[in-house]
Structure formats: C-alpha cells, structure tokens
Symmetry: C2
Subunit: 236 residues, 2 copies
DNA sequence: GCTTATTTATACGAAGCGGTACATAAATCA
DNA sequence: TGATTTATGTACCGCTTCGTATAAATAAGC
C-alpha cells in the first residue's frame, strides 16, 4: 500500500466541554469525587467503556492493526459497529486509545515493582518477570509487547501513533536509567558504570524477549536469557 | 480476525521433477553450469524472478503482510496478478519466498564482515553498521528488521513462517556466539565471560535498534546506543 | 503453415472492508 | 403523557480484497 487514505476528521462528540466554559459552573453544588453515576439523559449504554477498550486491545495486540477488522472488534467488545464508532471514533482512533490503555496498564505494573524498592538484581528479575507475564499472556498464544507490535505495524505511518511509540520507548529507557542510577548511588554498581548505557541494554532485553515470546520461544528459555542479561547488567 | 482461511493448496507448477526421475537422463549431454539460457518453449517471461522478488520484499518490508495488497505487489514488481500467482504462488507463499531472500541477503552481508576477521570491538561495530544500513534503508522511511516485522505480523500464525522466524533468531544468536567464542580464545575476553549470554545481548541490541529505527529514531542516536552496548559486551 | 507450450492481459466474481443512514429502543425531563 | 436525548440494531453503501477464468500473445517443435 502507498498510504491509502489520510485519517478523516474523527468527529468527536460535543462532550459539552465548550458549553461548560460558557456557563461559569453547573447548578449542582460540587460532584466531589466523580465516582457517582452522573444520571445521563438517554438510553443507557450496554457496555462499560473500560472493558470494551480492554477487549479491543486484546484483538489489536494479537493480530495487529491492519489484520484486525471492525467485525473482529465488534465481536470482541460486544458492541455493534455504530456504537464502536460513536464511543471511540474510527479504527485508528480506537487503536490509539487501546495503546494508551496498554501503556497505562504496563506503567502501573512497573510502578508497583519500582515501589517495592528492592536491590538491583532482584528488582530487575522482578521487572522481567512482569514483562514475561504480559508478553506470554493471551488466549491465542503469546502476544509479545504491544509497543513493539505498534512500531512494526503500518500504524506507524500515522505521526500520532509514531509519537506514542517513541514516548513509550523513551519512558522505558528512563525507567531503567533511574533504576541503575539509584543502584549506583547505593554502591550496587561501580562508579564507572554508565546508567544510560545499562538502561539501553535493559530495554534491549525487554525488546528481545518480546520478539522471542511472539515467536513462541518457551518461557524457560526466555528466563535463562534474562538471567544472563541481568548478570551482565548488575555486574559483580 | 480469528484465522480467516487456511492456506489453500498452492498449486505449484509441475516443474518436470517427477518426469526427470523417470527418465534416467535427458538427451543433452550435460548442461555443465546451468547459466546458459535453457531455451524454454512458450512465450518468454517479461520479468526476472530475482528482481521481482526483491521488489516484493521492499513492499512487504515496509508495510507488513496484512497491509500489503496484491495490487501493491503487482505495481511494485511490474507483474500482473496472474503472473505473480503463477510464479510465486499465493500471497503467503510469496511472503515466505521474500523472507528467505531477505535472509540470504542478510547472511551474505554478515558473512563478509565475519570473513574480515577483525578484533572483537571493530568487528561488532562493523556488524552493527551493516545492520543500521539495512534497517535505515528504504525510500518510504526506515524499515527496521524484516525478521522482527515477520515475528510481529499476523504471518506468525502460519507455522511455516514461525519456523522461519525461529531459525532466523537462532542463526543470529549462533553467529554472535561464534564471534564471542573466537574472541575469548584469542584472549580478547576474560575467561569468565559467557559467549552465549553475550550473544543474546548482541542479538538484543540488534532487535532494539531495529525497533527504534522503525520508529524513526535518528541514526546518530542509534550509533550512540550501539557504542555503549559494544563497550559493555567487549568489556575492558 | 499448424500444433503445442508458456506467459501476459483483461476482466470478473464472491467475499470482506470501513463507515454510515435510518429506524427503533430506553432512559430523563417537562 | 409526550418531547427530548442517547444508545442500539439492521441494513446498506461504495470500495477493496484475493484469487481465477478466459482469451490473446509469443515462443518452440513438427
């Protein structure tokens, strides 16, 4: 293909954002935490947006952007086509939203590991364990890393999506760099070690296990690879 | 998608292989090197198979399996649809053949570097230079590594293609392992170094620059990453 | 010349694609 | 109750998809 069509105007619903800025404040005193059901006006939704997005993610993650049809997404989410479109925009828009939800999920899990505040070596092993859990999950076989999938899919021709991918790569590098820097300050790494270089190697290890997982290399083999890589990165 | 159709019988042309084994030997004394034009019977081809395959590779490499249409392939090769089908089989078959030609090309280039028989560090730098040349090439922007593309495309649901990918990954690991082993025997690496572990790290570095290249990270940045990785792998 | 072998060229067909128009259903508001 | 608002369900649109049937073109063999 030679860049078939440019993304058409997504036609987002009004969302009343403009109206809100017109009125100084709506009548209700203050919704405090927005967790209460806001008593919407028309027919209620038959789906939960978060759940639907997660189901859509499953399909995109398994098959990639181009090989996933709206029928597939419709079947996975239980929403029919017009509802899908109304809720998330067109296929590209939906893809971006699923990718963002993936990133949020991954960030949350990595954040938990980071908060555990372990020494370098067990910390790295825990992080790679989480990554392997993600990359090997999926009913239709292991799916790898969605960032890698996105980087290699035709969706990367969309500048928005490419920007998301780049930010994902950078975020991963920074995460590992922080880790190595802390370890170095604690004396777990020699002063000569370069946290940035080690972070790139750590990201590279993430990428290689994502690719190998997708090729259905068994977990034991990936764990052996990780153990070796960690031994080099947390040298000593 | 949920595995739409299984690959239909490719309907390979007879190729006279069976007939050959029936006759002990054809009448002509012996074709020696097969480089002479074999004087085929019907209308001559308007294409050169190798060139056409290379053009098809360009398209698949850029867009991936699912996003590439037969029309795209037809336009790129200059062959019309029935000729394409007659020469290479259906889309999957053609994809496999392009992937094999890619592997051959990559193997040849890496083989040249290997034959140069340099010390470890310049050898690694040369290899990564070749990889960067490949991954950053392409008229429509950098294309990354075709093995990674294939591993993440839906083509991985085809067992044949998955087997090709696995063999590609293994080949890369073995190539690097041989390199590190030789270096260790020459005393360029400490005896405690594990060539297999270093090889996996070297492959991981290949994979990470392939992904980043596809996300259009500039070459200078990728070279900096490579320099850092090589410094760690060829430690000292 | 005529027959046979092989390739190209045109054009078709059934299925799938992304997206949307339109009517219907289910809720709130007056 | 009836008007309004929102979401759903059906059915369709024009286009693209992969693959192939069929006829024309170009070669060798006789």
């Amino acid at each position: 293909m030679v860049q078939k069509r440019s993304p058409p105007p997504p036609r987002a619903r009004p969302e009343a954002a403009l109206l809100k800025s017109a009125k100084p404040q709506p009548a209700k005193p203050s919704p405090a935490a927005g967790a209460v059901p806001p008593k919407r006006r028309g027919r209620p939704r038959a789906y939960e947006p978060d759940v639907a997005l997660s189901r859509a993610l499953d399909v995109f993650w398994k098959d990639g952007f181009a090989a996933t049809s709206l029928d597939d997404l419709s079947a996975a989410t239980g929403m029919n086509r017009p509802s899908l479109y109304g809720a998330f925009g067109d296929k590209r828009e939906l893809y971006k939203k699923t990718y963002e939800s993936y990133r949020n999920r991954a960030r949350a899990r990595m954040g938990e590991a980071f908060a555990a505040d372990l020494p370098l070596r067990p910390m790295l092993l825990r992080i790679y364990g989480i990554a392997l859990d993600m990359y090997l999950s999926g009913e239709g076989g292991p799916r790898g890393c969605f960032t890698v999938m996105t980087a290699t899919s035709e969706a990367v021709f969309d500048p928005d999506i490419r920007a998301l991918v780049v930010s994902g790569l950078v975020e991963m590098d920074r995460f590992f760099a922080r880790l190595f820097k802390i370890a170095q300050e604690r004396g777990e790494l020699p002063a000569t070690a370069d946290p940035q270089v080690l972070a790139n190697l750590a990201s590279a290890t993430i990428h290689t296990i994502a690719i190998r997982a997708r090729a259905q290399i068994p977990r034991a083999e990936l764990e052996a690879l990780v153990n070796g890589a960690v031994a080099v990165m947390a040298q000593g």
